[in-house]
């Protein structure tokens, strides 16, 4: 404690002594100028998002011939192309199915488990802490574990299913089950974060609200749906938006586990953009697809910002 203070004091003294130096004066003047302070962040932001966005939208109306190096304006050609491309339509459909399952079932489970774990007991806290671990682990590592455990012949999951007398599954290697397997892993990985946010949301609801409900002889389900859910709505809405944006831009797990397969059963929008852009070099198509992806996610984010200002509920 004291040593830190001493070090701080020494650096402070050094700064004081150098106050009349030229470098110090320039630095000090620069720090008073807000434009200097924000310059690096604004420049990078302009380059990596604003410029990239404008470029992306502009290029989606162009045809870029990589062999001749010519760029010509083709209007909505790329959009017409992708909306008649079965692969794009499949990936759009897959993404929406994946989003609905991963987000809505995921959110329902997060709320239920969150309400269940909202007790300050050692057991509950331990489970909550463990549950959060997958969220900070790289998706690559998570996908590796599940690839191993979901092996159809020697995997743990099928062993457990057959021990319980249930039919076994092909998991991520079956065309019917692959998308749902990915959704399962996504829910599993995001569970701890959702529960953490739900629990902290629940703890911020004041006790007297429940007390009033109890005095009015409100039944438990009634209290839950009429009081807990509305007061939790900002939290739930935040979770809903962030997890649907994440679901729409799912990439890592597809690239890691299935490469869009088997067949095209797990081809998703972000993966389509990646494959068209980086692998096949169809820049125009890829950018048109990413504009579609952007429109979906941006409208979700705008809804979030608009509603975050006005609270979703009244207390």
């Amino acid at each position: 404690m004291s040593t830190i203070d001493q070090i701080d004091f020494r650096t402070f003294r050094k700064l004081e002594l150098k106050q009349h130096g030229r470098a110090y004066k320039i630095l000090n003047g620069a720090l008073k100028n807000p434009y200097v302070l924000i310059a690096p962040a604004v420049i990078i932001a302009l380059g990596t998002t604003v410029f990239a966005l404008i470029f992306c939208i502009a290029m989606s109306f162009m045809k870029w011939d990589l062999i001749w190096g010519t760029i010509e304006f083709v209007g909505f050609y790329n959009y017409k192309y992708i909306f008649t491309d079965t692969l794009f339509l499949t990936s759009l459909r897959n993404t929406i199915v994946f989003m609905v399952v991963a987000v809505f079932i995921g959110l329902a489970l997060k709320v239920v488990v969150g309400v269940f774990l909202n007790k300050n007991k050692p057991g509950h806290n331990l489970v909550q802490t463990i549950m959060f671990t997958p969220y900070i682990i790289a998706t690559v590592a998570i996908a590796t574990i599940f690839r191993y455990m979901m092996q159809p012949t020697s995997g743990v999951f099928n062993l457990i299913l057959s021990t319980l007398g249930l039919p076994t599954s092909d998991w991520y290697l079956g065309a019917q089950t692959a998308l749902m397997s990915l959704a399962f892993i996504t829910i599993w990985q995001g569970m701890g974060y959702g529960v953490l946010i739900v629990v902290s949301g629940l703890r911020s609801i004041p006790d007297y609200v429940y007390e009033a409900a109890r005095l009015d002889k409100s039944s438990k389900p009634n209290t839950f749906f009429r009081i807990t859910v509305p007061l939790l709505s900002p939290t739930l809405f935040y979770l809903l938006v962030t997890s649907s944006v994440a679901a729409f831009t799912t990439f890592d797990i597809v690239a890691m586990m299935t490469d869009g397969g088997p067949g095209t059963s797990t081809y998703m929008l972000a993966y389509y953009v990646y494959m068209q852009g980086i692998r096949f070099m169809h820049y125009g198509r890829a950018m048109a697809a990413s504009v579609v992806l952007l429109l979906i996610t941006a409208s979700l984010s705008v809804a979030n910002f608009a509603l975050a200002g006005k609270k979703v509920h009244y207390q």
Binding site: I136, I145, T249, T297
Partner: protein, 287 residues
Amino acid sequence: MTDIYKKSLLKKKNPLVWKIAECVILAFLFILFVLPFYYMIISSFKSTVEAMRNPPVWWPAQFLWGNFADAWKGANFTKYGWNSIVISTCVVFTCLACSVPCAFAFGRMEFKLKKPLFAIILSDMMIPVQCVFLPLFILFSKLGWLNTYGSMILLFTYSGATIFFIRNAFMQVNNEVLEAARLDGASELTVMYRVTFPMVKPVVVTMALMAFLRRWNDYFWNLSLTTNDRVRTLPYAIQALNAATDGALPRWEVTMAGATMLMAPMLIAYIFANKQIKNAFIYSGIK
């Protein structure tokens, strides 16, 4: 009063059956989230035959530490690990150097164009990277920045969310304290580093941690902004190990050892600082 009322209600409605059910659900959740990690770590000690056996082996006959050495060599951990450490560490410093002054300006200063500039800063919260990586790929390849440490660091240097949270912390600092320091003759540097900065330190530490995590776990930019192995990081190496398991003779134990090593730093950090890490995420979730 409230507590007594709650307890009496609970006692009436909760017989032993409910308590047992609660324990069963807790145990189920515990197993659901511990089992994959247990199985991964235990599998990284198995022999090749054990790793392939049906039914699965829960405890290997012999603990083979050599698997880790194989994974280290097979995935070229020395190179990719070095890349991971260098890039992630640099990202923490550049991210803070870029975000803290910017957040200070937005939180504590008044200037023209503040609102539109702040909208630009927040733009990356609205635009997912999957939508803009392609223009960046083209731009960086024209500039010759592909496969450089700089480009990998640059992309994580700026983060709208980081600036947003640090700015909120700056806004909560009491203005009178700063005025008092200025009246005492403190220069702007002194005000910033001696008075304001200590007050927002917890948030800044949290954001530094998140920056490290984001970069360490990143896989997307590894694939989309590089054309060779020069600056790729560990997640890519694990992916390469994984691809090998599709072959005729999969060595799952080596892949598992690799994945264990990839997540070991995060896991160890989480075991020792789980409260802080959880609080960091709560903070970023609820504004």
